[in-house]
Structures are given as C-alpha cells and as structure tokens.
Symmetry: C3
Subunit: 154 residues, 3 copies
Amino acid sequence: MDADARFAALNLELPPAPKPVGVYKPLVLVGTLAYLSGHGPLLADKSLITGKVGTDLNLQQAKLAARQTGLSLLATIKSQLGSLSRVSRVVKVLGMVNAGSDFHEHPEVINGASELFAEVWGPDAGVGARSAVGMGSLPANIAVEIEMIVELTG
Amino acid sequence: MDADARFAALNLELPPAPKPVGVYKPLVLVGTLAYLSGHGPLLADKSLITGKVGTDLNLQQAKLAARQTGLSLLATIKSQLGSLSRVSRVVKVLGMVNAGSDFHEHPEVINGASELFAEVWGPDAGVGARSAVGMGSLPANIAVEIEMIVELTG
Amino acid sequence: MDADARFAALNLELPPAPKPVGVYKPLVLVGTLAYLSGHGPLLADKSLITGKVGTDLNLQQAKLAARQTGLSLLATIKSQLGSLSRVSRVVKVLGMVNAGSDFHEHPEVINGASELFAEVWGPDAGVGARSAVGMGSLPANIAVEIEMIVELTG
C-alpha cells in the first residue's frame, strides 16, 4: 500500500486545507524538500481546537489536538502536491504546545501527530527528527501548532 | 526593478547590520540556501524595540517592531551578500513574539516583516512558509525576534 | 587535530546517547545535512538538569546546562555517525531556555553549548547561525533544549 491507501485505511477525515491567515504560503518547495508552515488543529467545520494544555485541555485532549494538527498538515500536502505518496520521508517536526509554565509532557502531546505520520508513511520514513516544546502563547489560542520539513520523491 | 531598486523606492532606512551578541554568525551559507540567525528590532541608533506585546506594546507598535526586525534581516543580507538581489526566494520564516500567555494575534504582528519582504522580493518570491508564535521571553526583552531561510540565485 | 582529538583534549565526558522519549529519531540525514532533534542536558547517570532558568538555576548553572546539552548532541552525533569529524560545519542552532517571562540573557546561556562546538569544530566551522530564545515550558522541566543542523563531509 502507498501512503494514500494507508491513510484511506485509517478512516480518518481530512479537514479542508487551511487558508493562510497572514502573509505566508502553506508549503514551499526547495529542491527535494518541502517546508510546511505552522499548522493548527483545524476541524472539518473549519473551527480550531483552542485552549491551554494542562488547564483547558487534558493530556488526552491535547494529543487529539496534535493528531488533528497532523491531519491539517496532511490536507495541505494533499492539496499542494496532489498525493501523500509524494513524501518520501519526514525530515523534521517542530511541535509547539500552548501550555502553562509547569507543563512537562510535550512529547506525549506531539506524539498524536507523529503517530499519525508513522501510520501514513511507515515507522521509518514517517518518523523524523523532532523538537516538542512549550510556547507562551499561540495564534487564536490554538492548543498545538506544528511545522515540518518533508523530503519528496525525485 | 530588482530587489535593491524596490527597496530604495520604499524610502526606508536600513539599521546597521547587527553584530552578534553571542557565539554565532548572522548568516551561514549551505549550497543555495542562507540561514539567518534570529534578529531583533534594531534601530538606526543601535537601540532595540523592547517590551511585552499586548501590555507594553499594542498591536500596531508590535507590527512596526516586526517590520524593523525585517529591516535588520535585510541589513544582514546586504552586508553579508552584497545585494538584496542575491535572494531568489524566501523559504521559511520563524516569527517569535514576546507576549503574555493570553496574546493571540501573532500572525498580524509578524506580517510587519512579511509584508516588507513581499515589497522587496515580490508577492511570490518574497513570501515563504512561516510560523508566527509566542515566546515566554526573548533576549534583552526585545518585542520580536525573527529567523529565516532564503534561497539564493545560482 | 581532528574534531575527535580536539574533543578528547578537552577531558570532558560524553553522556550516553539519549534514547527518544517520543516518536522521533535523534538524527535524520538529508543529502549532506544532518537534522538533530531537540536534546536536553543529559548527565552521565542519565538524569537531566531541570528547573526554570532565572529562578531555580542562575546564569552560570544555566550555561553549564547548555554545555551539557551540547555534550548530549555530541553523543548523538558520535553514536549515529561514528565520529565527530564527520561534521564539516555547524549550520544552525536553536537554543531554547526554560525561563520566566522576565529573563533576558538567553544568548549568554546558549553560549555554553556554542563555545563547546567552537572548541570541537573550530571557531569558524563550529559556529553557525543561531537563535537563543525563551520557552514557556519544556519537556520534563529541563532547563535547556537545543536542536541543530550540521553539514557533513562528503
């Protein structure tokens, strides 16, 4: 199975590819790399999952927000490149959690997106380098924001 | 008009190219990419725009701080590469806003830099992928810090 | 002297190469670049230096935490690539300090790692572009987290 078939087998719904809310592009190609802008947890009805992780959202809710952010990134890849199978590997993920200063479980939260990518692109190619960290604040108070770099098939 | 001419037509003043205040280089070349270090809102008199966005600075003041940070990045490009026209496209911008935990308008702030880049390099090449996020704190309490990756002409 | 010899001359101990605590790889190769995941200040006994910089740790302690984070990155490079001499230059460092909202000395903290890299790879090749910023929170409350991109010998 290729990545599109593996995604279909998950029975998940892609949100609409998010439109930029500022002066930026969702994805920029340079050579064989695609740089994806910071994405948020966009739902199918175009609303966003918001709130501070650790107070407004518990760990499980935050991990689902990260998974939804991953779906939003997949929607942009599909929209911009035509197919999830254009990605040959995940290179680097920056997972940013909107959390209070005493929150400590950022890796567990961002795993919500990373596990999705591993399901779609496989446990080797779908898993990249990563940082998972806590931001003081995020746009529109979204719970999670993730940017990533992926390598494309030649 | 090339990028230098477009910049000249804006009648803006470049600050002096900032000197590193730590063990780093303002710009590093790798292949056709230039990685620019995090820059702050440096003014012509070498002072910095400081303060928390949302409390010490309002949205309009913060957007001007982002524009000034963009000018500081242009000063480094001009100083290190000789000409703004060496840049063929903006690849990726990370815009970091020094804000309280309830600030939500990071994209509007960072647009101050992104709109400048679009004026200098054009609405396609001057607009890259981007994340605009809120930091808990920034060096010297600067209001905005921006790092970026640009692609150079061959 | 090559980088391995220069490191040996420093009489420092490498911690064990850190094992991922989430769904990510410590290092991913793309062309001649290696992307290193966010690393923390891992000690030889596998404990981590934790706490808020500016309250739990003073500047000197935080700089040592950054140096230890640098050692952790070196351990991953040695473990994944076999030798520190595989690195031809440091391209980009993102130094993230776990600090309160009124902390201002992030560059001085992250210099703890950057000075180590300059000792190992030399004052030109060992010094890259960099941002040094303050995070609202970090995993397991580590004091410092650093990710980096390095270029490899062909």
